[in-house]
Structures are given as structure tokens and as C-alpha cells.
Amino acid sequence: MASQMMTSSAAVKKKRNWNLYMWGTLFVLPEIIVSILFLWIPIIKGVLFSFQEVDFVKGNVYVGLRNYIDITSSSDFYIAIKNTLYYMGLCVVIGFWVPAAVAIAVSELRRFQGLARVAGYMPSIIPAIVLYGMWVWFYDPIGPINAFLTGIGLPAADFFTKGMSMISIVIMETWQNFGGAVLIYLASVVGIPKDLYEAAEIDGASVWQRIKFITLPHIRSLLLLMFLLQIINTSQSFQAQLAMTGGGPDNATLTYMLLMNRHAFTYLNFGRATAMGTMMFVVMMVLSFFYLKMQKRSEL
């Protein structure tokens, strides 16, 4: 070792440097290659293709903003945006508060907490397509839900009309997804120090006040994060709509991403589809930027 040091020249030093870094580089390299090939290239290509007319036979042609103009001048585009916003809103109104409330309630259970957790998480492990198949039947005019409704003397409902279909899908998805969110909230609710409740109770705080002034503030940042994740997820949603209603009736469940996929794989216009993807991407970046700013401010 010492003799090596004595004869160290620039070349040897370089070689030692390489030896130090060699294994690290070799370990990271496969992941870097894969990320470039299957993440970065598609992302960059997506932006490039949005300015091109994609043609597999004749090759791509640069067309400037034409894809964007074509997209924004079609009426489908605005229907899809309106539907997506409506869907996101419904998900917040119907779905967002449910897991948090259930998590607080479940944390109060003295027995069978495990059963509640597992039962709630059940739909998350069953493949979504199976659930869609099941629920199409449950929502059927002569399906179990209508049998139940008429059984207790209510009029039967049609769940896939123009006005109802989106609401039906949101109810189904709330049922499907809330178990996972409950577990995440639960971990945080259970972690709140119990002496806080003890102290509050001694000071005469009612149960409701304890939830309002201790539990909720503790899960506030988690609520914000889950809210953002939900906004991101629901804005991308199309699979339930595709499998259950196919975007109908009369485009009532045509979401933005469903329209994008239609442009790509039904109309085979990949340029327009990537233009829609790029627009969505920009909106998402702006949203994340605001979230980061909000988070910074709340930390101060």
C-alpha cells in the first residue's frame, strides 16, 4: 500500500479513482439505462410527437401547433374536460372524507379492529376488472340493488342514465378504494399521543371537541397530501368509465384520459393524443408546483 502511494502518478490516481467508483457505477447503470429507455424517452417523445403528424409508414412530419388547434377546436374536448372536473368534484364530495371519518371511527373500536381493516381492504386486492364486472350487474335494472330498493318499498332506480352514470361510477370507486386510504389514515390516527386526549378530557373538552382540536389537526398534513394524490389520480381516471360505460351514454362519462385513448387507439391519431397528454402533463406540473409552495409555507 505504502509503496503504491510513493509511486502514485496521475495515471495511477485516475485508475484508483475509477476503482473506487467502479462498483457503484456498475450497480446504478442498469437502472439508469432502463429509466432512460422506458421513462425519459417516452416523456420526451410525448412532447415531440405532439408537434408532429405520427405516421408509421411515411414517417413523422412536423406540423407545428396543428394538433393542439385541432384538439381545442373540437367539442368533445370541452365535454371531456367538463366531465373530468365533474368527476373529480364528485370524488371529493362523495369519496374524500369517507376514509378519514372511517379511520377515526375504526380507531375507536375496542374489538374486531382487524376484521374492519381487512374487510375494508378486500376490494383493493381483487382485480379492478372483476369489480367492474360485478358492479355492472349490481347496478342492473333487475340487479341486487334494485331488488333491495323495491324490497323496502322504494322505486327502482336506473343507475346508468345520462345524469346518474357518473355518480354510480364514483360510488363504486369510493367503495373500491377507501380501504387503502383508511389504513393510511389509521396509522396516523393511532400514532397520536394518548396523553393529549387525557389532558383535554380533564380540562373538560367534549368528545367532539377532542376530535376537532386534537385528531384533525394531527392528520392535517396527511389530509392535504391525500387530497393532492386524489386530485392527481382522479384527473387521470378512465378505466372504470371504459369498462363500465364505455364513455356513454351520450358521452356523459367521457373523461379526458378516455378521450385521449380514443384519439390514439380508435381514431389512430397519435399526434393529437400526445398533444392531449402533454397538456395534461403541464397542468399536473403546475399543480405540483403549487402544492410544494403550499407545503413550504405551512412548514414556516
Binding site: Y21, W23, I125, G133, K194, G277
Partner: protein, 291 residues
């Protein structure tokens, strides 16, 4: 022990009738939720054993009169279940292997080895976190097409590792392992591969399990992407097969047989879930604390 501990409510609260009433209502609601969670699965299973007449009877009987296991035999003939199942398993096994090797090695290097420009490399991976995959779904498809990977398992295996979120989870876990462990091993003459496979991997079983579970559920769930990437029926995984042949409005398969297919599809994930339940709950906590 734990049951005697207080949470929001204390044992004193239960002496008041309002609290008792509220608590009973709450328990009732949770019970209803649990029932509504389990009922659809039970209904699907029982319906799959009914005759078509019973299935469409209004209101339908809860239990079938005769348990028609014949529907299940028919289900096997209606769609090539075994082939779809084989494809799903092939995709899952390859995906997990490639992803865990690539992600694991990179995460280990980033947290315990010398990597040139480490900060830049980490940033390179993390900057893709913010971009939802649906926005580049179509260029991703075109990219696979130009690489000639369509209609092969490689289209799932190779990109499996390209996931910054899982890389971050893994790196966070490795960061928690003590550096001294690896230093001691290196002094004793262990190479980096030995450090990784004999020390890091055995210590990180929980996080590996979590990732296996994530990949399992995404492989079982994914039906749309695979329906694009796999061009031939022979290559469809189960979920895509069901999407294409069972759950679409023009499907001519009888409902009771359809439900037999759906019931059978539910079994493997359920078994998987029961076996790995412990890790699933733990994994969600890992995923949940990232905020």
C-alpha cells in the same frame, strides 16, 4: 393490555348516555360498511352457482337452490383461463425479478456505495416522480413499438424497474441500515456483490415483500395497458382476457358463467392476501409516511 388503553374516548365517557348512543350508532355504521364490503363478493360467488332462471329472478334468492358447480366447468371452456393465467404468472415473475434486481442494486449503490455525481443521479430518478404515467401512456406505447417489444413479455419485464417511487422506498430503507455493517464486511474482504446479496438483501425482507405485493397487485389489476401491448389473444394476462371477453356490453357469455369466471379470478389474490396480510398492512404504512 391494549384494550384497556384509552383512545379518543375514555372509560369515563362511556358512563354518559349520549356517548353510549353515539358509539352504538358508530359501531352500527361500521358493521354496515363491513357487510357492504363483503356482501358483493358473497353475492358474486353464490350467483355463480345459480341457474340462469334463478339469476334473473326478481328479487333473486340469496342462496341457489342447487349448487351448480357445472358453471365453473363451463367457464373453463368459455375462455382459455389456463393460458391467461400462465401469461399473468409469467409477467408477474419476470416483472418482480427484473424490478427488484435493478431497483435493489441502484438503491443500494445510492445509499451505501460511491457513485459519481450521486446528487445528480438521485435527482435524475426523482424528477420523474411528479409525472403521472397516464400522461405519457401513448408515447410509451409508441416507444415499445419502435423497440419491437410489443406482444412479448419483455414489454413488461424490462420497463418494470423504471419506477422512481419504488426506488425511493428502497433507498430510504437501505439508508436505515448501518454503514458499519458494510464497512466491517469490506474490511473482512467481502466484495460489493457479497455485501449486497449476503447482507443487504437478507436485512431488507420487509421492503422487498412490500414491493412484491405492489407488483403482484398491479400485474393482477392491469387490464388496459396489457390489452394495448399484447396484440394476440395468446399473450393476454387474465385481467385483459376478462376485459376483452367477459366484461363488455356485447358479451354473449351467460351471466352465471361470467360470475363463475369472476369468482375464480378472485381466488388467487385472496390467497396471496391472506398469506402476506402482515406485510400488506406494514407496506401501506411504509408507503403512507412518505409525505
Amino acid at each position: 393490555m391494549k384494550n384497556t388503553e384509552r383512545s379518543i374516548l375514555s372509560s369515563f365517557d362511556f358512563k354518559r348516555w349520549q356517548v353510549k348512543l353515539g358509539y352504538s350508532v358508530m359501531v352500527l355504521i361500521i358493521t354496515l360498511i363491513i357487510v357492504s364490503m363483503l356482501y358483493p363478493f358473497l353475492n358474486t360467488f353464490l350467483s355463480s352457482l345459480k341457474t340462469t332462471g334463478e339469476f334473473f329472478a326478481f328479487p333473486a334468492p340469496f342462496f341457489p337452490k342447487d349448487w351448480l358447480w357445472h358453471n365453473y366447468i363451463e367457464a373453463w371452456h368459455v375462455i382459455p383461463m389456463l393460458m391467461f393465467l400462465k401469461n399473468t404468472l409469467m409477467i408477474f415473475i419476470g416483472t418482480v425479478t427484473f424490478a427488484l434486481v435493478f431497483i435493489g442494486m441502484a438503491a443500494f449503490a445510492l445509499s451505501h456505495m460511491r457513485v459519481p455525481f450521486k446528487k445528480m443521479v438521485v435527482l435524475f430518478f426523482l424528477s420523474t416522480l411528479m409525472i403521472p404515467s397516464a400522461t405519457y401512456l401513448i408515447p410509451n406505447f409508441l416507444n415499445l413499438q419502435s423497440l419491437g417489444l410489443l406482444n412479448s413479455y419483455w414489454a413488461f419485464w424490462l420497463p418494470a424497474g423504471a419506477n422512481a417511487f419504488y426506488l425511493l422506498l428502497m433507498k430510504n430503507f437501505f439508508d436505515g441500515l448501518h454503514k458499519e455493517l458494510f464497512e466491517a464486511a469490506r474490511i473482512d474482504g467481502a466484495g460489493e456483490f457479497l455485501c449486497f446479496f449476503r447482507i443487504a438483501i437478507p436485512l431488507s425482507v420487509p421492503i422487498l415483500m412490500t414491493l412484491v405485493i405492489f407488483y403482484f397487485s398491479s400485474t393482477w389489476n392491469e387490464f388496459y395497458w396489457s390489452s394495448l401491448v399484447m396484440l394476440e389473444k395468446d399473450m393476454y394476462p387474465l385481467a385483459t382476457g376478462i376485459f376483452r371477453y367477459v366484461v363488455y356490453s356485447g358479451s354473449t357469455i351467460q351471466w352465471n358463467v361470467k360470475f363463475a369466471v369472476l369468482s375464480m379470478t378472485m381466488v388467487p389474490p385472496l390467497v396471496f392476501f391472506l398469506i402476506f396480510q402482515r406485510y400488506i398492512i406494514g407496506g401501506l404504512n411504509v408507503a403512507g409516511v412518505k409525505g
